[in-house]
Amino acid sequence: MISPRYHREIPQRYRLEAGKCKGCGYVSFPPRLVCPECGKNDFDLFKLDNEGKLLTYTIIRVGSDKFVGKTPFAVGIVELKDGVKLTTQIADVNLDELKIGQQVKLVFRKIQDEGKSGLHCYGYKAILI
């Protein structure tokens, strides 16, 4: 991940900052410029609740280049209390214990390394609660 893009995404990856449409209340994560529901372009920024439930998941057994040596690991779709659904890795879990519907919370973890000399990239991952 190149530095400008990584830096641009920090409010979402680090702090779960979302946009709430002042017209219809639609929550967008990451924030948008125009509401897909009512077309307005006026949003309040707010921080999403970091708790939710696991809607579905899969186990990655053959990782892409940056995840070689980290397999097997779980990636799931989590629905947060604010209704936002996001895709995230599920950390600190025995994979055979995972079940759809489990309560999770998002924590701050390292997502990937840009090789041996590049950036460490941080963001959210889910853990079971």
Partner: protein, 348 residues
């Protein structure tokens, strides 16, 4: 009154037992358990490092303090495993927690006492009236070379302390530092594992600095060991802090709550700070706490805390150290541990 207004800690869920390490190196686990008084240690996950541990510990401190993160004027993280050689760990932490950008940030390094250094400077800045709150953190994912004695102790974890003047839960009454050039343990630039001078790390290093810092602190405060409900010393293994406490006149009962090393290992910069966190989790108003850290190289920082009435309002607002230590463990075998700690050479 200046002191701690919020505290929090974090330990990874992964563990490895002394037996699993000893088996790989043909050592006798019972001898190690008896000699070092260590049974198991925490291991950071593949996605955990000093920064992620610091963020989670500081989140718990913020939950307890209940303050606006923007009011924090300084963030100092002490560690000997900062993920970057050049880029302070705190720059990432402040953006994760919504602190700053009007904030002073620095990474500290002084072997195992970098965390107490961070606490000391954070406290001093608030006491000097430079800022309303300052955050001092000690955290590490410490390194131990394969087969070395340190491999049984080097673990991961950390604790964070927000210093302030309002709603203080543990007033800092006295501080003291004791430092000398004592080459007992070091890691040269670009080296992966630290080196140590074996038995020289004991009397001339750990005990000299811990005991002298403690005696100076007792003299400065005109207090005696029996004036304290709790005491915590740096915990490189289970034995050293017990011996230091005994030399100084502290009892086993005073040390017990903060003596978490047998099941946690040595979290280096997070060692005595996590012990202090465990004590604050159960402390009662009026209790006095004696804390002395140790960092190879070498030096010790000492603090005397007096717990206030407000401690009871915040203890349950975040996860307690003992809950993280005793629950939710995931045990690794040595192969998994070697992979988690990057001890296996992989193709690029």
């Amino acid at each position: 009154m200046v002191g701690i207004v919020g505290y929090g800690s974090y330990l990874p869920r992964y563990r490895i037992k002394v037996e699993s390490i000893a088996k790989e190196w043909g050592a006798d686990p019972e001898t190690i358990k008896r000699g070092l008084q260590l049974y198991e240690k925490t291991v950071p996950g593949l996605d955990e490092d000093t920064i992620t541990i610091s963020v989670e510990a500081a989140r718990n401190a913020l939950k307890r303090a209940g303050i606006n993160p923007k009011d924090i004027g300084a963030v100092y993280i002490g560690s000997e495993s900062h993920p970057y050689a050049v880029k302070p760990s705190g720059t990432i932490l402040i953006d994760a927690l919504g602190i700053g950008p009007d904030v002073h940030v620095a990474s500290y390094e002084f072997a195992c006492k970098a965390g107490s250094e961070a606490m000391y400077v954070a406290y001093s800045l608030v006491k000097a009236g430079e800022m309303k709150y300052a955050l001092g953190i000690g955290a590490d994912t410490s390194q131990g070379a394969p087969g070395d004695a340190l491999e049984y102790s080097a673990s991961a974890g950390g604790a964070a302390f927000i210093m302030g003047k309002d709603n203080v839960v543990a007033e800092i009454l006295f501080t003291n530092s004791y430092t000398s050039d004592t080459p007992d343990f070091w890691r040269r630039e670009h080296e992966f594992y630290p080196r140590h001078a074996a038995r020289f790390t004991g009397e001339p290093a750990y005990f000299k600095h811990v005991v002298n810092a403690s005696n100076a602190l007792l003299e400065k405060s005109k207090m005696k060991p029996e004036d304290f409900k709790y005491a915590v010393f740096h915990m490189p293994n289970g034995k050293f802090p017990q011996m230091a406490g005994k030399k100084l006149g502290f009892t086993k009962e005073q040390l017990e709550v903060g003596w978490i090393v047998p099941w946690m290992g040595n979290t280096y910069s997070g060692s005595s700070p996590t012990g202090l966190s465990a004590i604050l989790d159960v402390a009662e108003p009026g209790d006095k706490i004696f804390m002395v850290s140790f960092g190879s190289g070498a030096g010790s920082d000492g603090f005397i805390f007096k717990v206030t009435d407000k401690i009871k309002d915040i203890q349950d607002k975040a996860v307690k150290l003992r809950d993280m230590l005793d629950n939710g463990k995931i045990y690794l075998d040595y192969g998994q541990y070697a992979k988690f700690r990057g001890k296996i050479i992989l193709n690029e």
